[in-house]
Symmetry: C2
Subunit: 392 residues, 2 copies
């Protein structure tokens, strides 16, 4: 696999070529501008920009809207291609488009970046720790305010306000996107008719998950080049970031993937037991994919998104019971059966908590042995479930 | 929990006080000395020493011997206490002792360190990369030869030779100890009557496990103080090692442990969403336990044991079929039901491979929700199974 494809696999989190059909039209990035945004923590960011994409057409009543929220390593590029010659499509292209589960002949699909999106490809249009603080003219670095899932949602709310949208048929997303979707239902309960939470960590981050994702950040902080977050325009903490990305990447996969794709193969003729230089194919792949990824991802943004994930609890509440109280949306939970990161038990627990408070919950598992990645790669296998849920 | 107890939890991999009964006698460390040992890779180490312990009495026929092999972070301290006032017992104390599954009234139990044992507590008696190379008078560091599971077994074989032991009733061990046990059955098939492989990675390290354990080493290599392994007598790569230990530690636990022990508690009054300094209790625990552990563990040895694990395939063979061929022992596989590291599927696969070649295999799962740790903490719950297997 050549480096460009490796990068694309990492960033999109997709095996290329998995999509039989791309979104019909060529999509373009649009930019939301806000003069300022004040975080839940009370810090005001000036001149906030967030990239977004739309697919399909907003109807006159503005009531045919689907909002898509992206995963940890994703961007607002959920469907389609920027140009015909582009090889990869958006991450949920198999369910967004003409005649698909999120049918763009019928629905207007909006997909927005989160603040502090980790991808450098978003740097020209989405505010994050790399952005220049208008007050100092310098990059925020670690002075960027701590942002939460609710902050991501509030910025998306401003976008919908600008578009004149007051109702959402559904808010949907995989992984980190699923918790934004649930947060939407708690924060703006009169607006959200349905939520589809795919490969979800649940209504709050589980303590084991808090610890596991927390460790991802450790190698960045260990890298001397991180320098307290002050590295823009200097040498970047690529080595620490590469380990962080490797942890994140491996977390998303299942042993079946490792067995089928790599087995016990070595990179060359050298048996790994004979030398420190001799690597297993899976190690070599992870080294290359994470080194490539480290040139495409911002280390500080990575830290901020980890923090946002860890401190998430639906409704931005101090207790779970309080947090779910306001939810009115019908909820569809779609964990992946073989997920070794967002274990199905996390979705089961969410279902239980919601049902106890009288909420409408559907639950189904995405079949497969692709681990967490099945929330992206196998999402098309539950397209009928999704269509059916939208007609409820 | 005070630091000493934290350390003990880490190093022994045991929650203290879990054992109702300690081994009756006070145990002492013994030392095997070999003028030289030549590794499978063809490198000769001079003046090799390995610590070991014995419990019970060798009978006249020398045919009442049980060999115990330790896990990644363990030592040969499998049972008993060094002094009455010592608070913790050996890691499998609940099944080794008078009247227990490995009944010291009947059996002579031998437990030996592996070469390159990661614990500094073994430094005075077990050879590893910290040891002085007699040829140079300097610590080996990364010039220490790559050692494999077969090397660990061969050194143990030399120990048994010195003790005049030609037959083993059973070789048993948890995790890394389980693969030494299986390797024993392949390497010295006429000597080994039975194998008990607890929380086992199986007959070879699974590709996903190869990648997962491989990443543990990354933060050590990233730490500038690691300095190519040349840090003895200088500042040690404690920060990198602490992350490595944190990864290893967390790998052994289950979400139930995280939920029950920590939940979403914060360390102090500070909500983690309000500041980078505010930690969740589970993060604080892991930070403290890994920092404490980093003073007790050798970074280079850690790298060597990771390598040994990764390159393991039973029989030190190039194919699995070849590797299992010589095994004559009856095998009892005891995975832990809730293990998120050595998934039960790994033991199931081992059972399948062995049965296909006509080997005698028993399989049972250790019930519980303690993850990989149940191979230590809940081993007493399968003591009747073990007793029964020994009488087969």
């Amino acid at each position: 696999m050549n480096p460009i494809r490796l990068l694309a696999v990492f960033v999109a989190g997709l095996v290329l070529g998995a999509q039989a059909f791309a979104f019909d039209g060529v999509v373009e990035k649009k930019i939301l501008s806000l003069p300022s945004y004040t975080t839940l923590g009370g810090k005001t960011l000036k001149d906030v920009k967030v990239g977004y994409e739309t697919y399909g057409t907003l109807n006159d009543k503005k009531d045919n809207v689907i909002l898509i929220c992206h995963h940890f390593s994703g961007t607002s590029h959920a469907a389609g291609r920027y140009a015909d010659e582009e090889k990869s499509s958006g991450y949920w292209d198999t369910i967004i488009g003409s005649g698909k589960a999120f049918d763009t002949d019928k629905y207007f699909v909006v997909s927005a970046d989160i603040l502090a999106n980790i991808n450098k490809s978003t740097f020209s249009f989405t505010t994050g720790p790399h952005s220049l603080d208008p007050d100092t003219g310098m990059p925020y670095g670690m002075k960027f305010p701590i942002v939460t899932i609710r902050d991501f949602v509030n910025v998306q709310k401003s976008l919908l306000d600008q578009l004149g949208i007051k109702k959402l048929v559904v808010v949907a997303g995989p992984s980190l996107g699923s918790i934004q979707s649930l947060e939407w239902a708690a924060a703006y309960s009169d607006m959200v008719e349905r939520v589809i939470a795919v490969i979800t960590p649940g209504l709050e981050f589980d303590p084991l998950a808090i610890a596991r994702i927390g460790i991802w950040s450790n190698p960045i902080l260990l890298d001397p080049k991180w320098n307290g977050g002050d590295y823009y325009g200097k040498e970047e903490p690529s080595a620490g970031l590469a380990i962080a990305l490797k942890l994140a990447f491996l977390n998303s996969y299942h042993w079946t993937w490792a067995n089928e794709k790599f087995g016990h193969r070595w990179v060359s003729d050298g048996n790994p037991r004979d030398s420190w230089e001799n690597k297993f194919a899976i190690e070599d792949f992870l080294d290359r994919v994470s080194a490539a990824g480290s040139t495409l991802v911002d280390a500080n943004a990575f830290l901020f998104v980890v923090k946002a994930a860890q401190v998430y609890r639906v409704g931005h509440a101090l207790t779970l019971q309080e947090g779910v109280k306001t939810i009115k949306a019908k909820v569809l939970l779609l964990p992946a059966q073989s997920d070794l990161a967002a274990f199905p038990i996390y979705a089961m627990r969410a279902a239980e908590t919601l049902r106890k408070q009288g909420k409408a919950v559907d639950y189904a598992e995405i079949k497969g042995n692709g681990g967490h990645m099945d929330g992206l790669q196998k999402i098309n296998t539950v397209d009928k479930l999704i269509k059916n849920f939208l007609s409820k």
